[in-house]
């Protein structure tokens, strides 16, 4: 079927909420038939949101052809670039890339794009004519939208009228064979320039400083700061403080942000899209869970999901709206990054339990818009006087805080008559209107008494501390923790699947929190326990105060009772406060429950006694292997002071959300600045327990041969982190054996991951949050695998007991360990051996044709290439080496580093910066650590960790590592671990690629054998001959321009920059970026030809400096993508006109055209569907790039894959 749309890009005033915050220079795509009406309505309503001003969402079916007549009414060349789609890159790319025809159009012109939808999903579209990240850019001002592609045979109707619709963010989708479902567009976007009603930048009424930048959904946001003004002025809720009622419709009425409406049990799909330019947000949806990959029922279950710019996910809530328990009421949906949440990035999923025909009103008199029942489901009952339905049975008072739930507060009220009519037959505390534990006859009930308390938390041996730590504790542990007998740690409670959980939660916090360098005095008089994953009644048990629900928090000195159900084995469920989280979550107020397999028994790993809580326990289960269970909760914005009481990384003013404080993991950190106790203060031994003792951070302990699970969660507050385990790996989706092996995971606040790992060999393994700033400030620890028995760790009952101890445990000596005496190489003795003689040396690296360079570069290179590099015949590239499955790899690493060639000999590295700068002198030792493949961590991990031998190498010395390629793990990052401050920015990274057994590698230009290089041909007798392209995405580089002036990216690379704002960037945004030691910063091109529309054009500017990969149409191609560099800002990866399976090892996994949440340590293998040129096999230039308009693309993170239609003399075709 062919569907035709006429789309116009127009300038438009976007009013973002009912307080009149607006973007005077907004831009949007709109259907031609709506253009006049939109303009007229905006003209008539200059200070109110206009419904039709929303991101354009159009729909088609799988298999459809879509013709877009695009008309540009913006004052610069623009277009519509579609992800996921198949199209002719010469006519429908919506961009002006390389040598292609220009498919942008100038103001007043039209163009026709023809695309084919060959798989369901979100076909995100946006402008690539104006890629500026500044306020003058197009994407930041709203020029994005989506084509939602449905299952073949679908049609769609308006949820209010039931009539067919052509566009709109909400629709009911119908199908002859599939259930009808609600479809909601949830398009996050950020950084949109906004002013308040007066035309000035909005202020925070507490700090009187400018509030956070815009974080919105579908062109709407609902900041706390606006609503708080109504409290401060006495208009509403005079006894309230602010944050605790931010989401309370009883106080303020409904927000301007999306309210996704449906009936209990309705099948639904939220199309989660990121239309923003910068941040990686975390989408969290209360009450509901969904499969990470909706096409794969073995995939992980999520209820919080990170998403980077221009990416998308389908969120299909399991069991439909209200989840398994059928919980009706308001389920808030929000970005979990707390500063974003506070500034308005939230909305509501409103689940009605009675029919809404348009005749009802909310308690404040606002009419409830009609909502058609889905045609294949029985409609809910009509509201009656006795049973008026949600929210009209709740005894709230408009203008005041929501009422407390009936039965919940100990000593509190019972049910009103009308509440009784709405209640389940056996209402009880925490389970009044839905019975979360009603699925099972007589379920096991476990009860916990938990309190929130305030106490000082000491983060490390240097006396870094939070004097006002706030944590959850079991009541029975309060005395031991407060008296120092028991070390505070995040509360982790454990239960088996099928358990009904009851919690008596007491608020023992001071109701006024003092001010300090970080925060202002805040009246944090309420607190709750909001839970993820488990089943519960959202009206009374959310631990939150949302919409027209009850306020299920508790006042000081009071106790509230909650009830949840763990229906199946889940993973770790996050819990935290939802009332004053912006004040005290970063003080430690978070925890987790872990749902284990049914029949599991939980033991203290030291004594063997039964326990029900703890961050490290032993789990015994009769049907599956016993395992250790370890929980790590990372957090940022840790508001800590040094031992003298000086604040560490304080903000410019108290109350600022501008990345205050530092970091912790389980309330601890082990900063590298304090681990220089070895000779010459050499950073190479920072991780060595021989030299510096064990870290104070968690050491996860087990015996060789044990299985263990790491529960990884993030408790606070705004930033992305990158968890890595060195020398170990896990299946990316624990329930799915077809998922790929990973050794790294991006995480944002509230996300939860379980990694199941087998401790194959004894030794000390490093776990890290690997980005430079995290690691520098102490987010690392050890996994200690013992070979012999120790008296503080019980053996797993189903394992062969470890042998008695024959060797004393090692101790800190202050002396660096020696190198390993014997290298025990894994794998069969007769395995083929691949040897690589690698040299690490200092050499200037030219990063671009604009002569941007790193004069102090350090590279790894094959010994045979070194002379050519030194004499300038070869410009340095990241080392890429390969071996096949079944090969043994012998790496001989020689260091030629010279101290005097480092840029900052005094040990202070000023740019790119990190928080909490301190002296860390450059190390002249170096190492080469590899991810994912098999080796003995005591000899070949390429790092000196714990009580392992030294695996770094000094100048003019050599060391040998031995690896075994036991699995087809694909791309593995390589990097130095001797000095993460003074080496990584200079280029000390590369890639190892594990290829299928029997593969030969050929130089694509000479067809001669070649083991290294970013571009090779893979020749395997059982596989198609394939071109392989390796992209080493990097950030944090320190470059100088052709005049040797330091380039301060991203600031120096911003197009159409307004006046420079020194606070614009976070520490981790700094540094230059690109691929494979190359960059193509758009500012250089713009200076040369000040025309935004030709920035990517090779006709005007020549080809970019970044790798130009070449292939012939339909050549099989595979990309190997990795990011071994250092910054915490997440990136995306997109390839125009192509797509692939989101899990390369699973051919049934969802098809997508991007990789998202890319941060240090990520590796992906991307076998592209249909080969070069996509399904249509069309020659042309296909751009690969990041999705971050701010600040990746313009800073050079893009390049071209050139697909030839005719044989080229320099590029032999493949057979």
């Amino acid at each position: 079927m062919k569907r035709c749309f006429h789309v116009v890009a127009i300038p438009i005033r976007i009013v973002l909420n009912t307080f009149g915050d607006y973007n005077p220079h907004g831009m949007m795509y709109v259907l031609k038939e709506n253009e006049d009406e939109v303009r007229e309505r905006v003209k008539r309503n200059p200070f109110s949101p206009v419904d039709l001003v929303q991101p354009l969402v159009i729909r088609a079916n799988d298999g459809d052809e879509v013709e877009i007549k695009f008309e540009n009414k913006l004052p610069f060349a623009t277009g519509m670039h579609f992800s996921e789609a198949d199209y002719d890159v010469q006519t429908s790319d919506g961009a002006n890339v390389g040598l292609n025809e220009n498919t942008l159009v100038e103001c007043g012109e039209c163009i026709v794009y023809n695309i084919k939808a060959n798989h369901p999903g979100v076909y995100y579209f946006s402008d690539l004519g104006n890629p500026a990240s500044s306020d003058q850019g197009s994407n930041i001002n709203g020029l994005f939208g989506s084509l939602f592609v449905q299952a073949r045979g679908s049609w769609w109707t308006d949820p209010v009228t039931g009539c067919p619709i052509k566009s709109g963010v909400y629709a009911d989708i119908h199908h002859p064979f599939l259930p009808s479902h609600r479809e909601y567009a949830w398009i996050f976007h950020d950084e949109m320039p906004a002013v308040d009603l007066t035309g000035n930048k909005p202020l925070d009424p507490v700090t009187n400083q400018e509030r956070e930048s815009t974080h919105a959904i579908n062109y709407r946001y609902e900041p706390l700061q606006n609503r708080k003004k109504l409290i401060d002025e006495g208009v509403v809720c005079p006894d309230c403080d602010g944050e605790e009622v931010h989401h309370d419709s009883w106080v303020f009425g409904d927000p301007a942000t999306p309210i996704l409406r449906g009936y209990v049990g309705d099948p639904a799909r939220i199309r989660l899209v990121h239309g923003g330019v910068k941040e990686t947000h975390v989408f969290h949806y209360h009450v509901h869970q969904w499969f990470q990959d909706p096409t794969n029922t073995d995939s992980e279950i999520f209820d919080a999901q990170a998403i980077s710019p221009q990416s998308w996910y389908d969120v299909n809530p399991l069991y439909g709206l209200g989840s398994l328990q059928g919980s009706f009421g308001d389920a808030i949906i929000h970005c979990h990054l707390y500063p974003h949440f506070e500034v308005g990035m939230w909305g509501i999923n409103r689940v009605f339990n009675t029919l809404q025909d348009g005749s009802q009103c909310y308690p404040n008199g606002e009419p409830i818009e009609a909502l058609k029942p889905l045609p294949d489901r029985a409609p809910p009952p009509l509201p009656t006087k006795k049973k008026p339905g949600f929210p009209n049975f709740i005894p709230g008072k408009v203008g005041f805080k929501a009422p407390r739930p009936p039965l919940g507060i100990v000593g509190g009220r019972g049910l009103t008559k009308i509440e009784r009519n709405a209640a389940v037959p056996n209402p009880r505390p925490g389970a009044v209107f839905t019975d979360p534990c009603g699925f099972v006859d007589d379920p096991v009930v476990v009860e916990y008494n938990i309190s929130a308390i305030e106490l000082p938390l000491v983060y490390n041996r240097e006396g870094w501390h939070d004097p006002k730590g706030r944590i959850y504790v079991k009541d029975e542990d309060i005395d031991d923790i407060c008296s120092g007998k028991k070390e505070p740690e995040p509360l982790i409670i454990h239960m088996a699947a099928g358990t009904c959980i009851r919690i008596n939660f007491t608020n023992r916090l001071p109701n006024v929190a003092d001010g300090d360098a970080f925060q202002l005095v805040t009246r944090t008089y309420e607190v709750g326990l909001h839970i993820h994953f488990v089943k519960f009644d959202v009206l009374v048990n959310d631990g939150a105060n949302v919409g027209w629900n009850y306020d299920s928090s508790v006042l000081p000195g009071e106790t509230i009772r909650y009830e949840y159900f763990a229906d199946v084995e889940l993973k770790a469920w996050f819990f935290h406060d939802h009332l004053f989280a912006n004040y005290h979550q970063q003080h430690g107020l978070f925890g987790s429950g872990v749902v284990h397999p049914r029949f599991a028994e939980f033991l203290d790993s030291c004594t063997g006694e039964e326990v029900d809580s703890g961050t490290q326990i032993t789990v015994v289960q009769p049907l599956i292997p016993d395992y250790r269970d370890f929980s790590l909760m990372v957090h940022d914005f840790a508001l800590i002071f040094d031992k003298k009481g000086c604040p560490l990384n304080p903000p410019e003013f108290p109350g600022s959300q501008d990345d205050p404080g530092l970091f912790g993991v389980n309330y601890k950190c082990e900063p590298l600045q304090f681990r220089l106790k070895g000779p010459d203060c050499d950073p190479a031994y920072s991780f060595s327990s021989f030299v510096n003792g064990d870290p104070v951070t968690p050491i996860l302990q087990c015996y060789e041969g044990d299985s263990f699970r790491i529960r990884l969660l993030q408790g606070a507050q705004e930033e992305s982190h990158s968890f890595n385990v060195h020398g170990m790996r896990w299946k990316s989706d624990r329930p799915d054996v077809e998922s790929r092996f990973n050794a790294q995971q991006h995480i944002g606040i509230s996300e939860s991951f379980t990694f199941e790992i087998w401790a194959k060999r004894f030794g000390d393994y490093l776990w890290t949050f690997e980005t430079e700033e995290d690691l520098w400030n102490g987010l690392w620890g050890l996994i200690r695998v013992f070979d012999e028995e120790v008296d503080f760790l019980i053996p797993l009952p189903d394992q062969i007991p470890p042998p008695p101890r024959t060797m004393a445990l090692p101790e800190c000596t202050g002396i660096p360990p020696g190198q390993p005496e014997i290298i025990d190489c894994p794998g069969p003795a007769d395995a083929p051996v691949k040897r690589f003689n690698i040299v690490a040396f200092q050499i200037p690296i030219i990063y671009s044709d604009h002569l941007e360079k790193d004069p102090f570069g350090i590279i790894f290179a094959l010994e045979e290439d070194m002379n050519d590099i030194i004499c300038g015949k070869k410009n340095p590239v990241p080392l890429v080496i390969r071996a096949n499955v079944g090969d043994r790899v012998e790496v001989n690493l020689t260091s030629l580093l010279e101290f005097n060639k480092f840029p900052f000999l005094d040990g202070i590295w000023p740019y790119p910066p990190v928080k909490e700068q301190a002296c860390y002198p450059p190390s002249i030792r170096i190492s080469l650590h590899s991810q994912l493949i098999d080796y003995d961590v005591k000899t070949s991990a390429g790092e000196t960790v714990g009580f392992n031998p030294d695996q770094t190498v000094g100048p003019n010395e050599a060391i040998t590592y031995c690896w075994y390629v036991d699995e087809n793990v694909g791309t593995c990052g390589l990097w130095d671990m001797a000095d993460i401050r003074n080496h990584r920015s200079l280029g000390t990274y590369g890639a190892f690629i594990a290829e299928p057994k029997g593969t030969e590698f050929l130089n694509p230009y000479t067809l001669e054998p070649a083991c290294n290089g970013a571009s090779v041909i893979l020749n395997n007798p059982f596989l198609p001959v394939t071109r392989e392209f390796v992209l080493v995405m990097y950030d944090g580089a320190r470059l100088v321009d052709k005049c040797d002036q330091l380039i301060v990216d991203p600031i120096d690379g911003i197009l159409l920059a307004d006046e420079p704002d020194p606070d614009l960037v976070d520490t981790y945004d700094n540094g230059s970026r690109g691929f494979n030691y190359r960059t193509e910063r758009l500012i250089n091109r713009y200076v040369k030809v000040p025309n935004l529309g030709v920035l990517f054009s090779s006709k005007v500017h020549g080809d970019p400096s970044t790798p130009l990969f070449e292939a012939y149409a339909r050549d099989p191609i595979t990309f190997r993508l990795l990011n071994p560099s250092e910054r915490r800002r997440s990136h995306g990866f997109f390839l125009h006109g192509h797509y692939w399976n989101s899990t390369n090892t699973d051919i049934t996994s969802q098809i997508k055209s991007f990789i998202s949440e890319i941060v240090t340590g990520l590796t992906r293998d991307i076998p592209v569907h249909y080969g070069a040129g996509g399904v249509l096999g069309i020659p042309g230039d296909y751009m690969y790039r990041s999705g971050n308009i701010r600040w990746d693309i313009e800073q050079g993170m893009w390049g071209i894959m050139r697909v030839h239609g005719q044989v080229q003399g320099h590029l032999p075709p493949i057979k």
């Binding site: 699925f439 099972v440 006859d441 379920p443 096991v444 476990v446 454990h494 239960m495 088996a496 699947a497 099928g498 358990t499 199946v568 084995e569 397999p597 049914r598 029949f599 599991a600 028994e601 939980f602 039964e610 326990v611 029900d612 009769p622 049907l623």
Partner: protein, 100 residues
């Protein structure tokens, strides 16, 4: 079209295999059985009540999911990947909820 010739002899080896299983289960009526299946719910423990054609009827006392317990389940023998009957050997463990 090729002229394929089949030399089936009935009963086939599969018929014999199925019939043997059915006979075996008929002899085990009243005993406890542990069954593992490749599909949900993966594990079943209960008492064999009877066989009906090539279905086994089990009074299920334990599975992964409590909601499926204390019911009679009809299990096709093709869905049984592995089984163990308490027949004088080690007893099947009694699994219980609520250790903590």
């Amino acid at each position: 079209m090729a002229d394929y010739k089949y030399d089936y002899k009935f009963p086939t080896v599969n018929d014999v295999h199925d019939q043997s299983l059915v006979y075996y289960f008929m002899e085990q009526v009243g005993k406890r059985i542990l069954i593992m299946s490749p599909a949900f719910p993966f594990i079943i423990i209960g008492i064999i009540l009877e066989t009906i054609d090539d279905y086994l009827v089990v009074d299920v006392e334990t599975t992964n999911i409590a909601e499926l317990e204390n019911r009679d389940w009809f299990i096709h023998i093709h869905d049984i990947e592995v089984f163990y009957v308490e027949n004088g050997g080690p007893p099947i463990p009694k699994l219980k909820d609520g250790y903590c």
